[in-house]
């Protein structure tokens, strides 16, 4: 059985929630697996992460290097190639860092790569059986990955539920000396935090959120009028920002904002996972979409199959009538 490793994302001395998800995923490959956490960084914050992880991972590999103060994927790749066995299976969260690191790492390790895995059905000989989605989540696929020369597997954040497992007394192994001098042809300069924008969608009780179904910029007013009638704000999914119809500060999702309203009206939004991870706090999700196959209907509480461009104005009119009566 190949050894399983989990790449741990961490920040400010704290491991990301994905650390527990990777542990759960490793158990789906092999229920008896005892995966090894791999943590790169520097200083006391790295030590804090390693110590905390040793309560859930039986073995934690620490790679300390001053050059790894910021996780530059090219440097991390070199460090991992130095320490990982070539037949190992490395699990990585499929977020911005995993997208940056894993494809190139698989080439340098001469191992297989599968991205954005939703579930693991198990191992059959050297074939790892996986489940992915294609076409924006409209359909699922069974995938087989030959792990005989190792594999890098990127896992969708949130897809693997952490296990309730007893604490372990793990050990931290310092692998730093196995990594040579690290230099990169891509150099990190700085991070720039997003501008706040005119409306803070993270603080709204109701969001009228629009997606590709809004069709053109001139239709944004339909959503704005409904939002005004509801005392809500307008948010959106990625295609609306890409088209420059609304500013980035209105975007819900992994590369936009995380919101926690009471009611989320998803209008003409298909429901990609990158969008859905931005909706927290268990709101009432209402999906309004003319495509009954849209993945949003699988996660919404309430669904209406209708053209949003006709439905939203009718809803606005009715809310105004009710307000006029009660006023």
């Amino acid at each position: 059985m190949a050894r399983i490793f989990a790449y741990i994302i961490h920040k400010d001395g704290v491991a990301d929630d994905s650390a527990a998800e990777l542990l759960a995923a490793a158990k789906k490959i092999d229920a008896a697996a005892s995966p090894t956490a791999v943590v790169v960084g520097r200083g006391p914050q790295l030590d804090a992460v390693c110590t905390a992880l040793s309560a859930s991972y039986a073995e934690v590999w620490k790679i300390a290097n001053e050059a790894l103060a910021y996780p530059n994927a090219e440097l991390v790749r070199k460090a991992l190639v130095s320490v990982l066995p070539h037949d190992g299976i490395l699990l990585v969260p499929h977020a911005h860092f995993g997208v940056d690191l894993s494809p190139g790492l698989s080439i340098k390790m001469n191992s297989a790569y599968v991205s954005d895995v939703l579930n693991i059905e198990g191992l059959e000989g050297t074939q790892l059986k996986l489940i992915r989605q294609e076409f924006g989540g409209q359909i699922s696929a069974h995938v087989r990955c030959d792990i005989s020369s190792g594999a890098v597997i990127n896992l969708r954040p949130g897809a693997f539920k952490p296990l309730e497992s007893a604490a372990v007394a793990g050990r931290v192994l310092d692998k730093s000396s196995e990594v040579g001098a690290l230099t990169a042809r891509r150099r990190f300069l700085e991070t720039v935090v997003a501008e706040l924008g005119d409306v803070d969608i993270a603080k709204q009780a109701i969001l009228v959120s629009i997606g590709r179904g809004i069709q053109e910029k001139e239709n944004i007013g339909i959503a704005e009028e409904l939002a005004e009638a509801l005392g809500a704000a307008v948010s959106c999914s990625r295609p609306v920002v890409d088209a420059k119809w609304l500013p980035k500060s209105r975007q819900v999702g992994s590369s936009g904002k995380t919101v926690k309203p009471k009611v989320y009206l998803a209008c003409g939004i298909s429901g990609s996972f990158q969008h859905l991870v931005g909706i927290k706090g268990n709101p009432l999700i209402v999906a309004i979409n003319k495509n009954p196959k849209a993945p949003i209907f699988q996660v919404a509480d309430v669904g209406i199959v209708v053209d949003m461009l006709e439905f939203l104005p009718a809803l606005t009119v009715r809310i105004r009538e009710i307000s006029a009566v009660s006023a």
């Binding site: 894993s102 080439i107 989605q133 509801l230 990625r238 980035k248 809310i319």
Partner: protein, 263 residues
């Protein structure tokens, strides 16, 4: 700057309902509307803008068959200076590494300062750009949202990371970048533009011209294989509101009120 943009023709998910063909466990491929993979279109627009600013030439390339010439021509109508098709039966059913291996061989036949891909295709792989960079031993950055050409063979780029935060990097040329949607506004391509490039010759290279070992690509070399498509057993799913428009609206407003959303 000499730029290569790697593009792909895909079923357009905004135009198609993807359905399972139960007999073959493939998707129903008749009547699918195909177009250029949307992120690739942003990559091509970005490359055109860089060529407009700094000079040079943009070539678009794809791995596929005759049908894929249409997206090469579309991007040439947009402003790419030339298109190249990499086509061979040996390339069929390659995995991501196989496609990257074919592209690597083509890159090494020419001289490119900058290679762009879209951030991902319809299979959500987000893999070929990073693999190509590693095969060429070029630096790589994913999720790129701006490119500034600096003196001394370098670029300043921003990447989109979590919560709308941008990560700024300097990267040496030659390099490979995967372009995020929204980096620019891809220009409109009219029928007239398409007609103007309709008869332009598109060179085609196969495995032997590229010097690609047929055993290193295609189905036999693929470590990752999709065995079938399926529709997952649906979960609870949404409570679907039925009835007349008035009834649906009343029911919806009740639900919103019950959740404390409406006063």
């Amino acid at each position: 700057m000499e730029i290569l943009a790697c593009i792909r023709r895909v079923p357009d998910t905004s135009e198609n309902e993807i359905q399972l063909d139960a007999a073959t466990n493939d998707i129903q491929r008749d009547d699918l509307v195909y177009s250029v993979n949307e992120p690739d279109n942003y990559a091509v627009e970005e490359a055109i803008q860089i060529v407009e600013r700094t000079g040079g030439k943009l070539t678009v390339v794809t791995v596929g068959g005759e049908d894929d010439e249409e997206v090469l021509r579309r991007e040439m109508a947009m402003g790419a200076n030339g298109g190249v098709l990499l086509s061979d039966e040996a390339f069929n059913r390659s995995d991501g590494k196989g496609i990257a291996t074919v592209l690597k061989a083509f890159v090494q036949k020419g001289h490119y300062d900058l290679i762009l891909t879209g951030v991902q295709a319809e299979d959500g792989g987000a893999q070929v750009g990073g693999m190509l960079a590693a095969l060429l031993d070029y630096p790589f950055a994913s999720l790129v949202t701006s490119i500034e050409v600096l003196d001394g063979g370098k670029l300043k780029i921003s990447r989109e990371i979590e919560g709308g935060t941008k990560e700024l990097n300097e990267i040496d040329l030659p390099c490979v970048l995967s372009i995020q949607t929204g980096i620019n506004e891809p220009r409109y391509v009219g029928m007239r533009g398409i007609r103007q490039v309709a008869s332009v010759d598109i060179p085609t290279f196969g495995a032997s011209e590229l010097g690609v070992d047929a055993g290193a690509v295609g189905e036999a070399a693929a470590k990752v294989k999709r065995t079938d498509y399926f529709v997952p057993a649906s979960g609870k799913g949404a409570e679907m509101l039925q009835g007349s428009r008035e009834e649906i609206i009343e029911k919806l407003l009740e639900l919103i009120k019950a959740k404390g959303g409406l006063k």
